[in-house]
């Protein structure tokens, strides 16, 4: 079943266009972490454009410690059976066999995720080797371009998952989009230096200089807990948001999920944002960055 682009007569599956196409369909939407089919239904009812099936939300992974792995296929299949929207699932960084299993299950997108414990400290998965698309996290433009050069169809800023704190997501979005803006101002000689500094393929840097944007959609993840957080990410230039612990670690998940969906669509409309932010109850408590030490940071995983 593993096997990149396959052509049957005039029809092809697994092409870059088909992979990036699904990422385009997810724009302007909210992808919610869910741990069972009940949560998946709440997410779909609230207007999520996709769900991420996983055994524990990042806040619990952080609390429990130990090794975090791909979820049980039985649990992923139960979620697939319960909703119409796309279902994503996470594989460990570099763990291409987990990815093969997820493809065999027919998940719609694989997240090669730093939230799980990395399986390879040097290599990421060769994502061209798969029919289904991959999303990967990035803290800066160089990391994003390395993942794209490995075949990622979608990039999400990493933020710091499971903290309910938006500060890292803002840092990563500003870094990625700020460097894109600078590259569009660079002359052709400076692009060589940019490629060297970013440790990224020159051709991708040159393409950004021409188009002014990343080759694949850019979403935001890691720390979104409120409608205002989602709108902040969107106004900074993210094209969709992933919400992990922020929904199901809050007091009242269903209305908060719906409010975040509306805030993501109407992200520039402060009147809508004010209306949907009212009376949502207590958001997840959250963690300040100086309360976690460097070894507990998920964002630094990935190379």
């Amino acid at each position: 079943m593993t096997g990149m682009v396959s052509t049957n007569g005039s029809s092809s599956t697994g092409t870059q266009r088909v992979k990036r196409g699904l990422a385009e369909m997810l724009k302007g939407g909210v992808i919610m972490d869910v741990v069972n089919s009940d949560q998946a239904k709440i997410a779909e009812d609230a207007g999520a454009c996709a769900v991420m099936a996983l055994e524990r939300v990042p806040a619990d992974i952080r609390r429990d410690g130990g090794v975090a792995r791909m979820s049980d296929p039985e649990m992923i299949q139960a979620i697939q059976a319960s909703v119409h929207i796309p279902v994503m699932a996470k594989a460990r960084i570099g763990h291409f066999v987990e990815a093969q299993i997820l493809q065999s299950l027919g998940v719609d997108f694989i997240d090669e995720s730093e939230v799980l414990t990395p399986a390879d400290e040097t290599h990421h998965i060769d994502k061209f080797d798969f029919t289904i698309p991959f999303v990967c996290g990035a803290t800066n433009l160089g990391e994003a371009l390395r993942r794209i050069s490995e075949g990622a169809a979608l990039i999400r800023s990493k933020g710091e998952a499971g903290t309910g704190n938006i500060v890292e997501a803002v840092r990563h979005l500003r870094s990625i989009l700020g460097d894109i803006r600078k590259i569009t101002q660079a002359d052709s000689a400076e692009l060589f230096e940019w490629a060297k500094r970013l440790q990224a393929p020159l051709s991708l840097v040159q393409e950004i200089a021409e188009t002014g944007k990343l080759q694949v959609p850019l979403f935001c993840a890691g720390g979104i807990a409120t409608p205002a957080d989602a709108a902040l990410a969107m106004q900074l230039g993210a094209e969709s948001v992933f919400v992990g612990s922020g929904i199901f670690k809050s007091d009242d998940p269903a209305p908060r999920a719906k409010a975040i969906v509306e805030a993501t669509t109407h992200f520039r409309d402060a009147d809508v944002l004010a209306r949907v932010s009212r009376g949502l109850g207590v958001a997840m408590t959250g963690i300040a960055m100086d309360e976690i030490n460097d070894t507990q940071r998920f964002a630094s995983r990935g190379w």
Binding site: E24, M25, G28, P86
Partner: protein, 194 residues
């Protein structure tokens, strides 16, 4: 010509449609509120998740104004999820999913399968030959009497039209080819002259 095409921007591939329209010199405007709908001559409904869009059409107060404009003859083009929103019958959708019933077709949501089955293929069409990108695509399982089939793959309809309503189960906005957008704009131009 001074024409403005609205692109429903509640969720989905609206940005790619706007780029297509810009590439053929047509002014486009993103539609998220009823007020924004007022100024447009035609409306494009992109792909995305039809159940998400259906809910956002309700919460944004856009559903009824769009239905009224379509009934009033405004040209509208739905692709993939957009086509589902326009169909008279949705199969395998959510029970609470609403549609505009603007074109007499029955469509089955995600009938071509999950993403692993998403594909691109050539389409035979009376409007020209197109390369279509199908993403978790819906299938047109029934075509009503008044509906014209403009394009098909393997004898199965994928591009249909009924009066001012055009619908495709694929994504013309993903294949660097704006000819279908040009065709839609030409329908709008005819309408505008009348």
């Amino acid at each position: 010509m001074n024409m403005q095409v609205g692109v429903l921007a509640l969720q989905g591939a609206f940005a790619a449609h706007s780029e297509c329209l810009t590439s053929i010199g047509v002014q486009s405007v993103e539609i998220r509120t009823p007020e924004q709908l007022g100024s447009v001559d035609a409306l494009l409904m992109p792909g995305g998740e039809s159940s998400t869009m259906s809910q956002l059409l309700e919460s944004s107060g856009l559903f009824d104004p769009i239905a009224a404009r379509i009934a009033d003859g405004m040209p509208v083009f739905g692709t993939c999820a957009g086509m589902i929103l326009l169909a008279s019958e949705i199969l395998d959708g959510r029970s609470d999913q609403r549609s505009f019933s603007a074109i007499d077709i029955s469509v089955r949501r995600n009938a071509f399968g999950r993403q692993v089955d998403s594909f691109e293929a050539n389409i035979d069409s009376s409007v020209g030959e197109f390369h279509g990108v199908f993403i978790r695509a819906p299938r047109i399982e029934r075509v009503g009497v008044g509906v014209e089939v403009l394009g098909s793959i393997n004898d199965e309809p994928v591009l249909v039209r009924q009066g001012n309503v055009l619908a495709a189960s694929f994504h013309p906005e993903l294949s660097n080819d704006a000819r279908l957008h040009e065709y839609f704009v030409s329908l709008t131009a005819k309408k505008k002259k009348v």
